[in-house]
Every structure is written in C-alpha cells, then in structure tokens.
Symmetry: C2
Subunit: 151 residues, 2 copies
C-alpha cells in the first residue's frame, strides 16, 4: 500500500470518528513491506479515555499484530500532526517513519511546537514527512468544528 | 492519602514490574480529595505494548474510574520522571499535578530534556514536583539494571 492509499484509509477512519462525535483524526500503521498492520481513529469521547488518540490506538494494535512492542520498519500515516503524547508514542514504539496530513499549530509535536521525532538525545528518531493530502485532512476537521458551532 | 503514601504504593508497583521482567516504574493517580483512583506499573514487555508505561496505564484506569477522560483536579505520583509520551498524556488528560521521584536525564520530559507540563502554548499545564523519595525510586532502577547485566 502506498502512503497515499494509506492516507485514504486514515481519512475513512477520521470520518468514522466524526460520525461518533469525536474529533476526526485517523491513522494507519504499515509494515516494512507496506502491508496494512492496523488502523485507528480518535475515540477519546467514545471510550472516555484521554489516551485514545488515533495514533496510540493504531500503534497498540500494530504491536498486537506483530507480537512485539518494537514496531521496527513501520510507517504511521495519520491525518493530523501528532501531539506530544502521540509523537512520544511513535518514538517509544521505534516507528521508522511518520507521514501526516494537516499541520497542528496548536499542539503539533512533529515540527510545529516541537519535533520529538528528531531529537538525537532520545534513544530513537522517527523520519517525518509532512503535508500529505493536507487539504483533505484539514477539511475534515474544519467541517467537524463548523458543524458543532452551528448546533 | 499523602504524596509520600502514594509514592510508597507507586514503589510497590515498580517492584511488581521488576518481578515480571519489566523496567521498574510505578504510578498512582489520586483524586481531588487525595483518594486513590488507580495504580499502574510498566507492563511494556508483559503486554507487548509500547504505550504500556506506568503513567499511561494509571491514567487510563483513573479515567475509567471517574467515567471521564478529563482528570481535572487529579495528581499523578510516579517513581520516574515521565517520558515525552507520558508527559503528553498528563497534559491530554488535564491532570492537575505530577509528582515524580527519580529524574530521567535520558528521556525526562518534565524538566530534564523538555518540560511538556509547563508550556503555555499547549491547552493545559500540569504542576510539577520533582524528587520525592528520589533515592528509593532511583535505587529500584539501578538494582534492576545491575541484576540484568549480571545474567
């Protein structure tokens, strides 16, 4: 699966999150051969779990699928720039690469406020690709927040 | 329960982690009245989950106990300075205060490498108290790593 195909799946996940009343962010994890290991969407409200961001859920499921907490060689494709918790999770899981869509100037930790993925003091670095399908990824968020303001 | 009493529980959790072969870190979450809401220990190896750090597990359980992802008014007491993922989780969960024991110069994100808990650009700040029972908290780690090197 290409990064673009993975982002299409992540966008489907984001749409499902919105339908459940959660901020629409979706993520997938690809294995070293590009195979789809897992998918996740923000389920903070649905689960009542503050750590249930799309990336955390997808990373946990990928570890379960691989039978190891070390996600060596994997790529995480996510619609929104990861927050500090999620960027830290990518480092903790030894993810090789992260590809995100829309930047997050308020909480982004892969280049906006921080770049936790590129800190040689930490014991692992994650390669960052920003802006894949950024417009579509941003629109799902702006549409969601606009619809909530209208209620 | 006082912070010192909570740290004693966190140290019990750390000891249990070590017994299971996981790096010994333990955490508890106290409610606004000082009541014990949850406890957790590092279970990364046991669960094969890269996000299963003590703080993340304790925070998830506290949210479950409270029936809300917002842990307003809570205190997290943890034996080791939180890493970026865990510090980010404290911010995401709106934890009021974190008390840690041993500093972590290699990955600490509550004062050592970063202070993600005190960044006015993020939408929440967490009050940090460092060094509670730091010696005991550090010793459980040094003993663990020394015993592994001897194998």
């Amino acid at each position: 699966m290409t990064d673009d195909e993975a982002m299409a799946v992540a966008l489907e996940e984001a749409a499902s999150a919105a339908a459940a009343g959660d901020v629409p962010v979706g993520a997938v994890v690809l294995g070293a051969e590009g195979q789809l290991l897992s998918r996740g969407r923000n389920e903070r409200e649905l689960l009542g779990d503050p750590t249930a961001h799309a990336e955390v859920l997808a990373v946990r499921r990928a570890a379960s699928a691989l039978g190891s907490w070390r996600l060596a060689g994997t790529t995480v494709v996510v619609t929104l720039e990861p927050c500090p918790m999620c960027a830290g999770a990518l480092v903790a899981a030894r993810v090789a690469r992260v590809v995100f869509g829309a930047p997050d100037p308020k909480a982004g930790a892969c280049g906006s406020l921080y770049n936790l993925c590129a800190d040689p003091r930490l014991n692992h670095e994650v390669s960052v690709t920003a802006g894949l399908q950024a417009r579509a990824c941003g629109e799902v968020l702006t549409t969601f927040f606009a619809s909530r303001r209208l209620r």
